[in-house]
């Protein structure tokens, strides 16, 4: 059985935290370039250019792109034939967060208790989802999720009779209400089906898929494209100042659900769309 060391997980997480905050993903940078070529608003173009300049500065100086260095969310695909040695997976991830946020001069944005609101001062704990998979490797999908876009996310238990039109209308409403607050241009993650908590998880998970990569099911892929066109007709534009680039991409994940249910969750991501992965 393959052994994976606690220290190696700590090191990998720390590196992911720093890299996700200093280096804009290539998929995002390319999406900015594409948007700059098609955006109709001069103000919107100016915003997109400033965001690309910002990414260049952050990378060159090795500093965070955004002051909100986020909540760390990890989806861990844990191979059922591997063995973690030296401590628990959850402890290793949180130790990695402490190391990365400390050494990377990243902002500590987590409070220990939602009511008392005292900062933990090391950005732990992160939010960890584990999926048990076949094989002996451990894959960590990591995001540093900003608070602004997360705050504008939403979930609704639709009725099956609401159908595709109901889903579209609801997603458009969430994006419209979010307006400038979620830092557009957005990546819109949508979870459809499952149940109450599962559709929220699917929406989050969809955000880990690179920008431009469509769902493998043709029907879902088409829905992603249609929603993208409609969202970009809302006029919100870069930073909500008006324009034709409200979303950089739309991601949908679907799952089986109850005959009475049509749960839909919309998890908004800001334009930084920080997501990285490591395979151990």
């Amino acid at each position: 059985m393959k052994k994976i060391l606690y220290e190696d997980i700590v090191k990998a997480i720390a590196e992911l935290c720093i890299e996700a905050n200093y280096e804009l993903g290539e998929d995002v940078y390319n999406a900015f370039k594409l948007a700059l070529a098609t955006e109709k608003s001069e103000t919107g173009k100016g915003v997109l250019q400033q965001l690309m300049d910002n990414a260049d500065i952050a990378s060159e100086l090795q500093v965070p792109m955004c002051q909100d260095t986020g909540t760390v969310v990890c989806i861990v695909e844990l191979g059922q034939d591997c063995h973690i040695v030296g401590g628990s997976l959850y402890d290793a991830i949180n130790d990695g967060i402490r190391k990365g946020y400390g050494e990377g001069y990243l902002r500590n944005s987590i409070v220990k208790d939602p009511i008392k609101r005292k900062n933990t001062k090391d950005n732990s704990p992160g939010i960890v989802h584990v999926e048990l998979v076949e094989g002996d490797s451990l894959t960590i999908h990591m995001t540093a999720k900003g608070g602004g876009a997360e705050n504008m996310s939403d979930l609704k238990m639709l009725k099956p009779s609401d159908g595709i039109e109901g889903i579209k209308q609801y997603v458009l409403d969430v994006v419209r209400v979010a307006g400038p607050n979620a830092c557009p241009p957005l990546v819109v993650g949508i979870g459809i089906g499952g149940n109450f908590e599962r559709c929220a998880y699917l929406a989050k998970k969809s955000l880990f898929r690179p920008i431009g990569k469509r769902h493998e099911d043709e029907g879902i892929a088409n829905l992603e494209v249609e929603l993208m066109e409609e969202i970009n007709r809302l006029g919100i534009g870069p930073q909500g100042l008006g324009g034709t680039t409200t979303a950089l991409d739309i991601k949908i994940e679907v799952e089986a659900c109850h005959i009475a249910a049509l749960p839909v969750a919309v998890n908004l991501n800001c334009h930084a769309s920080r997501h990285k992965q490591a395979i151990l």
Partner: protein
């Protein structure tokens, strides 16, 4: 056209600016976000003095990252302003005249801005590394225990911003989006 503006602003400057104007701000601003606003509001309710005189001053809604060695300040972009809306009219009544942040303001804040002749600037959310280059000095003012949420006085030079809500009731978020909405 981009206007260079001294901050804190004179009343005449505030009244001359219109939603959509691009500006480069130079001067001093105070940082405050959620926790600092809550504390200031509670102090006002108890009749206590605030840690700094708000008269004609500007607040920037920001919680910067820690400065790396050699840096004046870490990355320092705007946070969502609407979380401060509950507390803002009370601060405007105490003389606050300008705010820098991102995102919508409430109806109550917009009405109070007209009444108090105040202005709201938007900075580009997520461009924190670029913005921090226009911050030339930082001084701790109050609530140091709040860490990133403490109140600091920043000296800024050519800080890029855009007028979102002017003192006449105009709102760039409404006007800008109307032009490009086709649904």
């Amino acid at each position: 056209m981009t206007k260079s503006i001294r901050i804190p602003l004179e009343e005449a400057d505030i009244l001359s600016l219109k939603a959509g104007d691009r500006v480069l701000l130079s001067g001093t601003v105070y940082t405050a976000r959620d926790a600092a606003h809550k504390r200031m509001y509670e102090q006002l309710q108890k009749g206590e003095a605030l840690p700094f005189d708000l008269s004609n001053q500007a607040i920037y809604y920001v919680g910067p990252t820690p400065a790396k060695p050699g840096q004046v300040i870490g990355s320092a972009g705007p946070t969502t302003s609407s979380r401060m809306d509950t507390y803002t009219p009370a601060l405007l009544d105490k003389g606050l005249s300008a705010m820098i942040g991102k995102g919508y303001r409430s109806k109550e804040v917009k009405q109070s801005m007209i009444k108090n002749k105040a202005i709201y600037f938007g900075a580009i959310g997520g461009s924190a590394a670029l913005i921090s280059r226009s911050i030339t000095a930082v001084e701790m003012i109050a609530y140091e225990d709040l860490g990133t949420e403490a109140i600091r006085r920043l000296t800024i030079k050519d800080f890029p911003a855009i007028v979102i809500n002017d003192a006449h009731g105009n709102d760039l978020y409404v006007e800008g989006v109307e032009k490009y909405r086709h649904i």
